[in-house]
Symmetry: C2
Subunit: 271 residues, 2 copies
């Protein structure tokens, strides 16, 4: 393979093996060129990936020397993508009876989900996250997108146990907005003791559901790596949790004029 072709192949290979340590000796054997040629290729790839905000390319010296590609976006790109999604939320016709917001089209479009996944993963790329947790149904595509970028598994909490889950661990929780006691359940084998769990969800009001997931994390003897939601809704009173990150925030839903006041979430507060 000529250098030009190798660069194309190598670029594709790195993109498809994120967050993994790749051995330089094996790459050199695979491409049938000296390790120094591989290192030279990496100089080009590193420069482009870092200039274009594709991700970090780190090389590690030594006989077991390796390279690791970590997908990474800039703060600017994160902001830009959030604004693109905010525009979608501002479209007419999203307000449903009762003041609910229709999100299913946004959360059913792969390009939007990729953006949401990148924005959330970006906030945790310096933290240890072993697994992403969400609750059925609408949190699932978000959890999957975040997990894909962090390259970790995701687990799905349910409101009712299923025969296909085996033994489950159940907790009760107070719904933050309606003050009812509810139940949530997670397959016992889906988490191991000591794992760092990132909780994600599509929408948060009183944070009752997220608080329930937080107690599940504790019951599993796991650690909470963080809480991130796509959209934070208007809520009067005190939320059950205060340490969370949100991509977007809706302050007011004007049902009469069919308009939603969409703002950037607290992720962008200190940026």
């Amino acid at each position: 393979m000529k250098r030009n072709e190798r660069l194309v192949d190598f670029t594709n290979f790195l993109i498809n093996h994120p967050n993994q340590m790749l051995n330089l000796n094996e790459l050199s054997k695979h491409y049938e060129v000296a390790k120094s040629s591989i290192s030279e290729d990496l100089v080009f790839i590193k420069r482009v990936f870092e200039n274009q905000g594709v991700g970090l390319v780190e090389t590690f010296p030594g006989s077991l020397g390796g390279v690791r590609f970590t997908p990474y976006i800039t703060d600017e790109r994160s902001l830009e993508m959030s604004q693109e999604i905010a525009e979608l939320l501002r479209e007419e016709n999203r307000i449903l009876p009762g003041g609910y917001i229709y999100l299913s089209d946004i959360l059913g479009t792969p390009s939007n989900l990729r953006k949401i996944g990148q924005i959330i993963a970006h906030e945790y790329h310096e933290k240890q996250v072993d697994v992403v947790m969400t609750i059925a149904t609408k949190g699932i595509p978000i959890a999957q997108s975040v997990a894909e970028i962090l390259d970790v598994p995701f687990v799905i909490v349910r409101r009712d146990p299923k025969v296909t889950e085996g033994a489950t661990l159940n907790v009760n929780y107070m719904s933050g907005s309606s003050s009812r006691v509810e139940n949530m359940t997670l397959s016992k084998r889906s988490l191991s003791i000591g794992q760092n769990v990132l909780i994600v969800d599509d929408f948060m009001k009183g944070a009752g559901t997220i608080n329930g997931m937080r107690s599940l994390v504790h019951e599993f003897d796991c650690l909470l790596a963080g809480v991130a939601v796509f959209l934070e809704g208007p809520f009067k009173g005190e939320r059950l949790i205060d340490d969370y990150k949100s991509i977007l925030k809706v302050d007011r839903i004007d049902i009469a004029n069919r308009s939603i006041d969409v703002q950037l979430g607290n992720i962008f507060n200190d940026k």
Copy 2:
């Protein structure tokens, strides 16, 4: 940007813009080089992508000339990935009380989902698919993975209507295995008349659920592009549908010996 760097950047750009017609004039302007240089780059990229089974790179001549990257895997790669997942299914401890199979870990791991998505999308890459449909909960990650590769939206059918879905269209269906009448529902605005719908699900026995989704497709005045399932289970009697594709098939679950007889599904019958 030097050629070497441009090749890296261009490769990354194509991978991140699948199934889209990209204008050669705009690319030439973006990279500040002659259109002929872009065309030369594409020769390298095309050769590597096609040799390595990454995807098709098609160039279209003319003043509006463009290039389109279509992710594509070979039949061999599809078979190889199916066998890798079959091995996971054969692991001990998957059999739950009642002869159910624990799948949540497999369907919660991004690398497996990417494979499942690629295998299913590969079967439909010559067909027109406008939208992927599934039913909550476990079908969702599969639908998202397939939709991601086909670059189309996905919609989620539910067993109970939610206030966040707006007006819904509901159908009743017979569960194939238990012969009960059940209900399923889909937000009315999630499909448009005449769309080609690909139905996917994680598991199929009597095909009652899939038959229900098929009647939803008809009630929406849409067309059925196909039916694909990850796993086909053992079923005695006649299935409610016979035109479907499966990646893997379980013929027998030996509860006493805790072993599952996992075979390749009908996708590989004629390959």
